[in-house]
């Protein structure tokens, strides 16, 4: 299982990505993350809401109260313009990170290592 330490920096990306598609609420966001990663990754409630709290404080997302068809109150989140540019910035950062780490984790290197 993937360590939450490594994922910490990228929880923001996942949440923002989903909010770029449409406004959403906590349970839907965590359900979507699980579905889209085919169950490999699921975000804990405390992780999700820590990230949401941080994003909201930074002005990248905003919340409003909506209601479900059965009248249960629900807090929705929507991405702001600052959030959009923060998302693009994070995507750029990830591409660079991946490129760097890729240099050291290519298939060839791994195989050579195994044959030693």
């Amino acid at each position: 299982m993937i360590s939450s330490d490594i994922m910490r920096g990228y929880n923001d990306i996942m949440i923002l990505f989903l909010l770029l598609e449409h406004d959403s609420y906590g349970y839907e966001i965590s359900k979507e993350i699980q579905t889209r990663t085919k169950g490999i990754y699921s975000m804990k409630e405390t992780t999700l809401y820590s990230a949401i709290n941080r994003l909201e404080k930074s002005g990248y997302i905003a919340s409003y109260h909506g209601s479900e068809s059965f009248g249960k109150p629900r807090t929705y989140f929507t991405i702001t313009n600052a959030g959009r540019s923060y998302y693009r910035e994070k995507c750029g950062e990830w591409k660079l990170t991946r490129q760097i780490v890729d240099y050291f984790t290519s298939e060839k290197e791994e195989n050579e290592h195994e044959h030693e």
């Binding site: 906590g26 359900k31 699921s42 804990k44 992780t47 999700l48 809401y49 820590s50 709290n53 941080r54």
Partner: protein, 240 residues
């Protein structure tokens, strides 16, 4: 509306955090989301326990919330250190153990108190039979009653002290708090009622004796009082 299991769980986990608007908001959102996940699981056909277990296992860690909201443990109430990241926010182990030990002693003390009161009558009768009615029989009687009443009063006070200690550690843990509080009240109540019963019995006995000279049938108030004490403490759950 009463609190759901999930609400209680989350409230307990958050109990040691300062009550700011921000904390309240995060807490409310988590409850909302967990409730929704729970209902979805029920719809999928999971039973309540399975669903609750699954939801709880997705809760995460309070350390994360603490870090995120910039709450260091030192700034917190003394409770924080002992409850950090654990569920339910717990009473320190030594205190709990001390309390359990005390509950054992308390039960014995109350029983001893009742025995003292009954013994008072028995000894008085025996002394009367041997030495005749007089100073010795009366003295042994009052000494034993005094011992019994002292036990009730002293342990009743100790009980209140322990209850206070415990409540201090459970400021906002509704379920546990309630349980301890009501149990505690009942126990002290048992002690107090027993004390009161024996005091009244003594008063009735003295009145009957001095005013009407009815020492002889008057002593029945004590066995009756003793039995009442037993009944009261049993009814109010004074079982270790």
């Amino acid at each position: 509306m009463s609190m759901s299991k999930i609400q209680i769980y989350v409230e307990n986990s958050f109990a040691s955090l300062p009550r700011t608007k921000e904390v309240a908001e995060v807490k409310m959102n988590i409850i909302e989301s967990m409730e929704e996940r729970y209902e979805a699981l029920l719809k999928e056909g999971k039973n309540e326990n399975e669903a609750f277990g699954a939801v709880i296992s997705e809760f995460g860690s309070m350390d994360e919330i603490r870090q995120e909201l910039g709450i260091s443990e030192d700034q917190d109430s003394p409770t924080a250190a002992s409850t950090a990241g654990s569920y339910p926010p717990s009473i320190p182990e030594e205190l709990l153990r001390g309390y359990e030990a005390f509950r054992g002693r308390f039960a014995i003390a109350i029983t001893a108190g009742v025995v003292c009161c009954i013994l008072a009558i028995v000894m008085q009768q025996i002394f009367e039979a041997i030495f005749g009615e007089g100073f010795l029989a009366t003295t042994i009687f009052f000494l034993l009653v005094a011992a019994g009443v002292s036990l009730f009063v002293y342990f009743g006070m100790q009980k209140s002290y322990w209850e206070e200690q415990l409540q201090q550690y459970q400021p906002s843990a509704p379920v546990y708090h309630h349980r301890h509080a009501s149990r505690g009240q009942d126990d002290t109540l048992a002690g107090r009622l027993s004390g009161a019963i024996m005091l009244i019995a003594t008063a009735v006995f003295l009145l009957l004796g001095f005013l009407f000279g009815l020492w002889h049938p008057g002593w029945v108030v004590f066995p009756v009082g003793g039995i009442l004490c037993g009944v009261v403490s049993t009814l109010l759950g004074d079982r270790a």
